[in-house]
């Protein structure tokens, strides 16, 4: 009975890991990608149920305190699985229409999600590393999915080389931390007294590894190429689930392994947050390809989130979790609408200029895109606004006034490039006169649910914010 209870604490990990193998075998024996799709949807829902159950339950550690469950970790699992579930819903139609519907996508997505779940629930540096590696290796393969397209191969190779390099940094950081503190378990690293040069070198290398995974400037170079080269629904998965997982793991490492030296690393995060916000937003201004634009916008979002991390208070961490939730909803949604437009083959709908007049042709898709983009700008009453507001408010409470001013100014820049998409959608005339397809029920349902959630958590955020705040009130 005891071991069953232990297994329940990692139920999402077990379910998704099993699902990956099951879907792989399903593909090997039937070769039918549709079955793989439905099976992975089912397992994803089951894992989401398990994660929600863990999030509502108590916090603690299990498996010889290798795994941390409940609270932030299990909410991270919910974030990852939400991103996975919705991008899976969109994947089937998109991949079928673009002629890339192979069943390996689903097993690779599930293996990547398995790594992310391991990453968010890690209470031990080796588990953390295992999670990052199994996530990354699956993502490298996913980036190169369209292997007959040059851009996709380029994306996969760049991602692989830079990712392998950054993993080296991360591992070296872990090794140095072990050398200076004598432990790999997160709470024991915090208890160690010796904070010498080796400790700081380890922390620096660990931060480098994390900055790469969350694509903070100047470790962002791979992001636009990879997001552009991968199939759009896979990009949605990468941009949301892997980023949420990396940020949640970052929060857990900061708050559980390095809390007593926060004065020092706070300044590092401060500087990186400024660069990430400013450079991400400035580079997004000049993009003509919508996937590259969204990639730079996701870099900018990473910057806002890092403002929250730099604040290092419980309120800031819970605000970051809220932001990640809003970010997942609106980013999967925006990439989903782009993927819908891309299903039309005779025109390249990754170029923003080709969006002229589409808003009136398919009114519902236009409205959905507007909702997601307005939410990304941070305009009320959408979830993105509440996320940004809470992160900045928490940073002001901690006295980071100048950082917040830079953040708000950078966010003001972002209005231009988000709204320019809407200008094309609604204020330009369509000259091609092409007929738009009807999206399938599941596809439009997923997008509408995302939009409704974006609005709901913007109008009525109290329930979730109180709940997230409770993670940091008791044990803090």
């Amino acid at each position: 009975m005891e071991s069953v209870n232990e297994l329940l604490t990692i139920s999402p990990i077990v379910i998704i890991g099993f699902a990956g193998l099951f879907v792989m075998m399903l593909d090997a024996f039937t070769g039918n990608a549709r079955w793989s799709f439905y099976a992975s949807l089912f397992f994803c829902l089951a894992a989401l149920a398990g994660a929600v159950q863990n999030v509502l339950g108590p916090t603690g550690t299990s498996f010889y305190s290798l795994v941390y469950y409940g609270g932030t970790a299990s909410f991270g699992a919910v974030l990852v699985l939400t991103g996975t579930l919705f991008s899976l819903c969109l994947s089937k139609d998109y991949l079928e229409q673009t002629g890339n519907h192979i069943a390996e996508v689903y097993s690779l997505v599930l293996f990547a999600a398995f790594g992310m779940l391991l990453l968010v629930q890690a209470n031990h540096m080796i588990v953390l590393f295992l999670g990052i590696e199994s996530m990354s290796i699956a993502l490298y393969a996913l980036a190169g999915l369209l292997r007959d397209q040059k851009k996709s191969v380029e994306a996969a190779l760049k991602y692989f080389l830079l990712g392998a390099f950054s993993t080296g940094f991360l591992l070296y950081g872990i090794a140095l931390l072990y050398g200076s503190t004598g432990s790999l378990a997160l709470p024991e690293i915090a208890e160690a007294s010796d904070k010498g040069v080796m400790y700081w070198a380890g922390v620096g290398l660990l931060f480098t590894g994390f900055f790469f995974k969350v694509s903070a400037v100047p470790f962002h170079m791979w992001t636009p190429d990879v997001y552009q080269g991968s199939p759009t629904t896979v990009t949605a998965f990468m941009a949301t689930a892997s980023k949420s997982a990396a940020f949640v793991a970052f929060i857990l490492v900061l708050s559980r392994a390095l809390p007593d030296t926060s004065q020092q690393w706070q300044e590092v995060l401060w500087i990186f947050a400024v660069f990430t916000m400013v450079i991400g937003n400035l580079l997004a201004l000049v993009q003509e390809n919508i996937k590259r634009m969204l990639a730079y916008s996701s870099i900018a979002h990473a910057g806002y989130i890092m403002v929250g991390l730099a604040a290092t208070s419980g309120a800031a961490y819970s605000a970051v979790l809220y932001y990640l939730f809003a970010y997942t909803l609106m980013n999967v949604g925006a990439f989903g609408v782009v993927a819908y437009y891309e299903c039309h083959k005779n025109c390249d709908f990754t170029e923003i200029k080709n969006y002229a007049g589409l808003g009136f042709k398919k009114p519902i898709m236009g409205i959905l895109m507007s909702v997601f983009l307005f939410s990304m700008v941070g305009i009320p009453p959408f979830a993105g606004f509440i996320g940004k507001y809470r992160v900045f408010a928490a940073a002001i409470d901690e006295g980071l006034i100048s950082l917040v001013i830079i953040g708000v100014l950078a966010s003001a820049i972002s209005v231009y490039y988000y709204l320019s998409v809407l200008v094309y959608l609604y204020m330009k005339e369509d000259e091609t006169g092409m007929v738009m397809k009807r999206p399938s029920t599941l596809y439009s349902l997923a997008l509408i649910i995302l939009a409704l959630l974006t609005i709901y958590f913007g109008v009525h955020p109290g329930l979730l914010t109180d709940f997230l705040g409770s993670f940091y009130s008791v044990t803090w």
């Binding site: 193998l21 075998m25 593909d27 090997a28 024996f29």
Partner: protein, 126 residues
Amino acid sequence: MLEQYIPIFILIALAVLIAVAFIILSYLLGPARPNKPKLGPYESGMDPIGQAKERYSVGFYIIAMEFIVFDLEVVFIYPWAVRYQEFGPGTLWAMVLFITILLLGLVYTLKKGSFKWDMLPGSPAK
């Protein structure tokens, strides 16, 4: 702390010194009478027929991947089997799970036709 590494540094320095000294000495003292076959890649072998940057059949890489399955099994099973008495029977199930997962990977590549070597060059695996 670093003092204990001094012998290693001395060893490294000596090794580099001796290697460099031998290269310089053989350059200075050794007779050099080059001719064409002597300078070829294989002095007493065949003449090279082209660059090494050829494209190899992807089948070789798949075989390499399959090798990794067995390789990993050996790497983990061997130390485990040696210490099995101390580890106890619970670890048997962990090992069964591990081997099953690796086996599924092998089954997958088999089903995808990794051992079908009779296919024409360039044709996709069926």
